[in-house]
């Protein structure tokens, strides 16, 4: 299986605090891979490093075989590697439809095309995706006025609109009503199986990640603690200790 993402020996410190220490992992194309670990273990930092939010101190990150550790966020995004944010970020003063429309892929956007209107297909696709996440009726409301859970769904829909090859999801079920989590998991699986997007998911909800992921990496104190199939991780004593120790 070809890896779409290869992280090798990545280390990152902030001041004196080590966020990531010599992390190496592989995400095969088309799979759903999980990233777990207690709070402060460096999961979001790793995501930030991968998408170019900050430069790394050491190591290499390859997306589709190309080295991306020196590239900037917009360039990496245009290569098809997107991320969602833990605190959920959307464009608050714009309507849901506008949020979706401006999330089209920008890789071919040029000086001349930037002044054209969006073709009708864009609106149709946006409406389709909003329907997919259950936000169709709210599509004309300002995104900032949606509930937190609805904004999370919008963010997910926007990511799908951008036609990424791989999506890094930072705690996609956090703050979502438990009764709706199943439908979200279902949508994530469909995005992966029907559209073919590789998913790399940070999750705290063990039930969700065990259900979703085919392979799981566990971080603790900035280091890679363990990795394996969900069953192995669930029974891994060091993983259990790390979580209990963190509590």
């Amino acid at each position: 299986m070809n890896p779409i993402l290869e992280v090798s020996g990545v280390s990152k410190s902030f001041g004196g605090v080590v966020a990531n220490s010599d992390i190496s992992l592989i995400v095969p194309v088309g799979k759903i891979i999980g990233l777990i670990g207690p709070n402060g273990s460096g999961k979001t930092s790793l995501f930030n490093s991968i998408v170019g939010y900050h430069p790394i101190d050491r190591g290499s990150i390859k997306f589709d075989g190309a080295e991306i550790s020196k590239l900037r966020v917009p360039e990496i995004a245009r290569m098809g590697l997107l991320r969602t944010f833990q605190q959920t970020r959307i464009y608050g003063k714009m309507s849901c439809m506008e949020n979706m429309e401006t999330s089209v892929p920008h890789v071919h956007e040029g000086l001349l095309t930037m002044f054209t209107r969006f073709p009708a297909e864009v609106a149709e696709k946006a409406e389709g995706l909003l329907e997919f996440v259950g936000l169709y009726v709210k599509r004309h409301l300002r995104a900032g006025e949606l509930s937190f859970g609805q904004q999370k769904l919008l963010e997910f829909a926007m990511a799908l609109m951008n036609q990424p090859r791989m999506l890094l999801l930072d705690e996609p079920t956090a703050g979502i009503n438990p009764t709706l989590i199943n439908s979200l998991i279902d949508r994530l699986k469909r995005a992966n199986s029907e559209i073919g997007i590789t998913l790399f998911v940070i999750e705290h909800n063990m039930r969700v990640i065990m259900d979703l992921a085919e392979h799981i990496y566990c971080l603790a104190h900035g280091e890679l603690l363990a990795n394996g199939a969900p069953e192995e991780i669930r029974n891994n004593q060091r993983v259990i200790d790390a979580y209990l120790g963190a509590n």
Binding site: A77, R78, E98, T102, S103, F115, Y136
Partner: protein, 343 residues
């Protein structure tokens, strides 16, 4: 059919009022011309300001470039530097052909220089965010004024004259009224078109969350530069016209940071920033108020304007359009679609 007429109605009304105004009220030609200029100032500020979240206090830079470049072009095309004198010396008189050719070429060059400056300066300045951008642009605007007041080529502290209009005295007012009117209309419809295109949504996205916009692959640097340069384009034209209308140009006329420079921000906020009609409404209300202050409070009008600025900013920051949107969100299309079926 009636829908089209209804939506076109406000434009037709304003358009005809605009065309007829200087003829109906010839004594107010200059003030009316200034109204259109204020509308341009507010609209151009709002491109980078209200629509994109980059609140500039230095857009006056482009205005001043237009002022000076257009006048210098006039001067250089038809007169030797050595022959030219400042306010106390010889006055420049041109033929009709010379005047209008010089004027047009001057405007064209102003735009080129303004956009070039926007690109070069913008490459650094547009990397700043929030209040750092605001104060940096303030510094740029004020620095430009200081540089102009020291540069002999443009008359230094004494300023320079724009050529006398080749025609009757009242014709000048009429001519510039219509040039400002046309420019304002052009500006308005260009922006209206831009805001309904990809460009409009992208700059709104930058305003709402620039990091998110970058994370979604938007060419933020490109959009920011283009937005600022578009305002530079129209401001340079407005400046070129204003310098000629005023006949006299010095750093106070060209780079008035504490008047036009901050008024453009206020007008957009008063009307409702981030909307297409907001700056138009705000500019109209502000300009009328300012003219009233001038007439009735002369001497204290600047103080009164300062008070007005504080009042608007503190008590009415959402502006007219913002207030309307809060009262009647349905009229702005922000409703839940109850007719549609749920997923």
């Amino acid at each position: 059919m009636t829908d089209n007429i209804r939506s076109a109605l406000p434009y037709l009304l304003i358009g005809s009022a605009g065309l007829a105004a200087p003829i109906i009220a010839p004594n107010f030609q200059i003030q009316l011309a200034m109204l259109w200029m204020m509308i341009i100032l507010a609209l151009t500020w709002d491109i980078a300001g209200g629509q994109m979240g980059y609140n500039s206090f230095g857009n006056i830079l482009f205005f001043g470039i237009g002022c000076y470049v257009t006048a210098v072009m006039q001067r250089e095309l038809f007169f030797d530097i050595a022959e030219y004198a400042n306010v106390t010396g010889k006055v420049v008189t041109l033929t009709s052909y010379q005047y209008f050719t010089g004027f047009s070429l001057g405007l064209a060059l102003s735009v080129l220089i303004a956009v070039a400056v926007g690109v070069v300066l913008g490459s650094g300045i547009l990397g700043l965010r929030g209040h750092y951008f605001a104060i940096c642009t303030l510094g740029v605007g004020v620095a430009a004024g200081e540089l102009a007041s020291g540069w002999e080529f443009v008359g230094a502290g004494s300023g320079m004259l724009a050529p006398i209009y080749p025609g009757e005295a009242n014709e000048q007012g009429l001519f510039y009224y219509y040039t400002f009117f046309v420019l304002a209309v052009l500006c308005f419809f260009t922006l209206k078109r831009l805001y309904s295109s990809r460009f409009g949504l992208a700059i709104n996205a930058i305003r709402d969350d620039e990091d998110k916009a970058e994370a979604m692959g938007i060419h933020t640097t490109r959009y920011k530069t283009v937005a600022w340069c578009i305002s530079g384009f129209f401001l340079a034209l407005a400046g070129g016209m204003f310098g000629h209308l005023n006949n006299f140009i010095d750093r106070e006329v060209a780079f008035p940071s504490s008047t036009f420079g901050v008024w453009m921000v206020l007008m957009a906020i008063l009307g409702g920033k981030g909307t297409i009609w907001g700056p138009v409404l705000g500019a109209t209300v502000f300009h009328v108020t300012q003219e009233l202050f001038w007439t009735y409070l002369f001497g204290w009008q600047r103080v009164a304007l300062g008070v007005l600025i504080v009042v608007i900013v503190v008590f009415f920051p959402q502006g007219i359009m913002g207030w309307l949107r809060e009262r009647w969100p349905e009229k702005f299309g922000e409703t839940v679609d109850t007719d549609a079926s749920t997923a």
